[in-house]
Each structure stands twice: as structure tokens, then as C-alpha cells.
């Protein structure tokens, strides 16, 4: 999850946020980190690029990306060999 946090901070250009400051279960969208639908699309590409996972429907985004932990679990469940 530490690597994932670093990737998220970089991909989303989260200035002034250190990866280690993001809680494993901290809500990422709306309150919490305050991410929005554009960030969700960025994370979808991140997953494809780094983990080979394709998400066809962007509406699933906010659910899967609720927290770093939920993303990590999703990756474990769906990761294909790169």
C-alpha cells in the first residue's frame, strides 16, 4: 500500500501531501482527501498502467476507490500478470 500511495500522490499531482500522510482507510473522495471524478479517471489509468487492470465503467470508480485499502484489495483480486 505504501507504493500505491506514492503512485497516487504522483499521478494526481497532490502537492503538499506526503504518501505516508494518507491513512489506509481514509476516505479519498469528497471529504477526506477531496478527490473528484477527474481523479477517479486518473486512477483508472494508473491501475491499467501499473497493474494491468482495466475498468470499463468509470461509474464504478468512487466505490472501488473509497480508500487506499479498498483499491489495494481490488488490485489483489484482479491483477493480471504484466
Amino acid at each position: 500500500m505504501a507504493a500505491l500511495k506514492a503512485q497516487i500522490v504522483e499521478q494526481l499531482n497532490l502537492q503538499e501531501v506526503k504518501p505516508e500522510d494518507i491513512g489506509d482507510d481514509q476516505p479519498l473522495f469528497k471529504d477526506g482527501l477531496g478527490l473528484d471524478s477527474i481523479d477517479a479517471l486518473e486512477i483508472i489509468v494508473l491501475l491499467q498502467q501499473h497493474y494491468g487492470i482495466r475498468i470499463a465503467n468509470p461509474e464504478q470508480g468512487p466505490e472501488i476507490f473509497r480508500s487506499v485499502r479498498t483499491i489495494a484489495e481490488f488490485i489483489t483480486a484482479h491483477q493480471t500478470a504484466k
Binding site: D36, S37, I38, L41, I44, V45, P58, E59
Partner: protein, 404 residues
């Protein structure tokens, strides 16, 4: 200072027709223009249907007398502007103080993206002729210069509401007596830049789009150009019986959603304010609108927001509505202009356009679009909506006859 602004004519080119008459035939025959990419080269060629103008740059150049090496955006603009001017019967353009207000979002990007491929390899490479008209304003001037228009020229770019805003600015120029005539509208050509940009937003439908349908899954990109010729009261009074104005541009409004960079607020605040403002300016009530040409892109977000806003404003008197983007695709910067031509013509000839690919009413919207073409309807007032990224919402009202 208050005076009416009239539509003396219009011209359009898009993926369902190279002029207004061809477009009307396509609507009547229920022939939307979605197809595989033919002119644009992209890796997504077989993934997304698009609505390209069915003519190469060489052909467009031949029709207009412009060079075939210039941007397609300018070529399309030229075709529509020439048709628009001709349709007015106003004759020699140099007799009038003419303004040209053209909108676009991509400028000469179709050429720039070719240039950039060479330039990225080596900064001294790439033909400068491919970027000399990169700017949005440069496209406008290519056409203005060819038409001999010098008096007042400008370009607007507010994403998908661009050319609707061009009509508003043009109308103001006339009301302030800065010009007698304004050719107002917009143009946009399909480019890899836009295609890929929209793809990153995951709002492109890999099938033909279904605006205002519950199963809709996104938009199809189109291209084209559309312009109306706006004239003052004084000039309208001088027109011969054979070339009477089509209608009045009786109202318009521009509001900002101020919700998100690209998404519309769920209840369509900006949309609502724009439509309400346009009605107010026209001095009419919602129930006076006889037809709405929707922005209707076919995305989940737009159609819900637009639908809610219409429901809130028009309930319980919902007028017939349809999205002509179900035929033309989303022509971006040109859409306001193209749809202004369709809407103004609707007032003139009583046309209600069909909405293609509709079968299931949206759960959250209490009305459905019209699915058949009809003419000869009594349309006193027609509304045209254009809503874009950056929260830019614009609405136009076209009306028959004198203001009472």
C-alpha cells in the same frame, strides 16, 4: 438602444449534409451520420463511431476556392459562411459594415498535431506552414480575409457553448450600432487531440449515441460548421419580399454552472439559469416555447442535468424536444452555430427534428424526445441549448414575427 436582431440566412456543413438542404433530407429520411473514421487517422479508428463531414480537404478546398493545405477547421468554416451569406440575398458584402464572429475549440490543431510529431523528434523539424494557423483566431481570419470582411472580427472559445456565445456577442455588436450585419457561428474539425481527450474522460460511446435515452452510454464526436447572418432592424426592413428574414433572435443568456471543471451539477443549475435568462430576455413564459433543440450529447451526466433543468423550468408544459446530435454527433465548438441554423429554420418552416436511437425514457426525467421529423408546425418560439466544459451554459431563443 433596444432593437431587434434578425436572422437573414444561415449555412451549415456537418456529417449528415454539406449544406442545409442535405441536412434536412437526412433528418427527414432518419439517416444519422455515424460511421467509421474515414478522414482522420487514429488508433481508435475502429473503436468509436464518429460523424465526419463526408468530404476530403481537397474537395472542401475546391468548393470554396481556399487552399487545400490549410486547416480543415477553416475549410469547413468557409463552406458554411459562403452558404450563409448567399442565402441572405444581401449581395455585395462590401456595401455593409460586416462583423464576423466565429467560434472554435481546436483552431488549427489538425495540422499542429502532425507538426508536433516531427517537432518532438527534433525541434528544428516540422513545417512551419502547419502551425502558422494554429491559433483559434487565425482560423477565423483565414475565412474573414477570403470573404473580404474587415470591419469587426473576433473569435470565442468556451468549449461546447462557443458558437452560441458568438451569436450573443454578434447580436450586441448590432444593437450597439457597431456593424449592420454579423456572420456568427462556429466551426470545429475532428482531431486526434479532441478524440483522445474525450476518450480520457470515458464519455465516448463505442456504439451510436442515444441522447436522452435511459440506456445512453456517451457521445459520438462530429465535426462541421454553422453560421447565421444577423442583421439589424433597419436592414431587415429593407429586405425584398423574396428574401425576408427567417426569424428574430429574441433572447439569449449565458450562465456558469460553477460546479466542476467538466461535469454538470446534478440539477443543472447553470443550464436552468441560462434557459431562464433567455426566456426573460425574450419576454416569454416557458409554456410559450414550442420546441427545444437540446444540447443532448448522450452522456449520462449532460442529459440528466439538462433533463432536470428542463423539468424544473417547464413543468408541467413540456414542449417537444430532441437532440440533433443523434444525427450530427457532437460538433463541439460548431454545435451552437449548427443548431442555431437548425433552430432558426425550425421557426421559419415549422420543422421539429427527430431524436434518433431513442427507445427508453430516462427514469429521472418526466418527458421523452420526439422521434419523427415533421414540418409545417406552428412554431412561434424555439429554444436551443449549448452547455460546455468550464460550466459554460448558453441558451438561445428564436422567434417569429415582431415583438408585441
Amino acid at each position: 438602444m433596444h432593437s431587434d436582431v434578425w436572422i437573414a440566412g444561415g449555412g451549415v456543413i456537418c456529417g449528415i449534409g454539406n449544406n442545409l438542404s442535405e441536412c434536412l433530407m437526412a433528418f427527414e429520411r432518419m439517416e444519422p451520420g455515424m460511421a467509421h473514421m474515414e478522414y482522420l487517422h487514429s488508433v481508435h479508428r475502429h473503436t468509436f463511431p464518429v460523424v465526419e463531414v463526408k468530404a476530403s480537404n481537397a474537395t472542401l478546398a475546391g468548393w470554396t476556392g481556399m487552399s487545400e493545405k490549410i486547416s480543415r477547421t477553416a475549410l469547413l468554416s468557409s463552406v458554411a459562411v459562403q452558404e450563409a451569406w448567399k442565402s441572405t440575398g444581401l449581395g455585395d458584402i462590401s456595401q455593409y459594415r460586416v462583423g464576423f464572429v466565429s467560434a472554435n475549440t481546436v483552431g488549427g490543431m489538425d495540422k499542429t498535431e502532425d507538426f508536433f510529431a516531427d517537432y518532438l523528434q527534433d525541434p528544428s523539424k516540422g513545417h512551419l506552414s502547419q502551425v502558422v494557423h494554429h491559433e483559434c483566431g487565425a482560423i477565423t481570419e483565414l475565412v474573414a480575409d477570403a470573404m473580404g470582411i474587415r470591419h469587426h472580427i473576433s473569435t470565442i472559445s468556451t468549449a461546447c457553448s462557443s458558437s452560441a456565445n458568438a451569436l450573443m456577442y454578434g447580436s450586441r455588436l448590432i444593437r450597439n450600432n457597431m456593424v449592420d450585419v454579423v456572420i456568427a457561428g462556429g466551426t470545429d474539425a475532428l482531431t486526434r487531440f479532441t478524440l483522445n481527450g474525450f476518450n480520457t474522460l470515458m464519455i465516448l460511446d463505442p456504439a451510436a449515441c442515444r441522447p436522452f435515452d435511459d440506456t445512453r452510454a456517451g457521445l459520438n464526436l462530429g465535426e462541421g460548421a454553422g453560421y447565421v447572418v444577423l442583421i439589424s432592424d433597419a436592414l431587415a426592413a429593407e429586405l425584398p419580399a423574396s428574401h425576408q428574414p427567417w426569424c428574430r433572435l429574441s433572447g439569449y443568456a449565458n450562465a456558469n454552472d460553477a460546479y466542476h471543471q467538466t461535469a454538470s451539477s446534478p440539477d443543472g443549475t447553470g443550464n436552468f439559469l441560462a434557459m431562464q435568462g433567455a426566456l426573460e430576455m425574450s419576454g416569454i413564459r416557458p409554456e410559450d416555447i414550442d420546441y427545444i433543440n437540446l444540447h443532448g450529447t448522450g452522456t449520462q451526466n449532460n442529459d440528466s442535468a439538462e433533463g432536470s433543468a428542463i423539468a424544473r423550468l417547464f413543468a408541467p408544459h413540456y414542449p417537444p424536444v430532441s437532440s440533433t446530435k443523434s444525427f450530427t454527433g457532437h460538433t463541439l465548438g460548431a454545435s451552437g452555430g449548427i443548431e442555431a441554423v437548425f433552430s432558426a429554420w425550425a421557426v421559419k418552416e415549422g420543422v421539429i427534428y427527430p431524436n434518433a436511437n431513442f427507445s427508453k425514457q430516462m427514469k429521472d426525467v418526466p418527458f421523452s424526445p420526439v422521434t419523427k421529423f415533421s414540418a409545417g408546425n406552428q412554431l412561434q418560439h424555439v429554444m436551443s441549448n449549448s452547455f460546455g466544459f468550464g460550466g459554460n451554459c448558453s441558451s438561445l431563443v428564436f422567434s417569429k414575427n415582431e415583438q408585441s
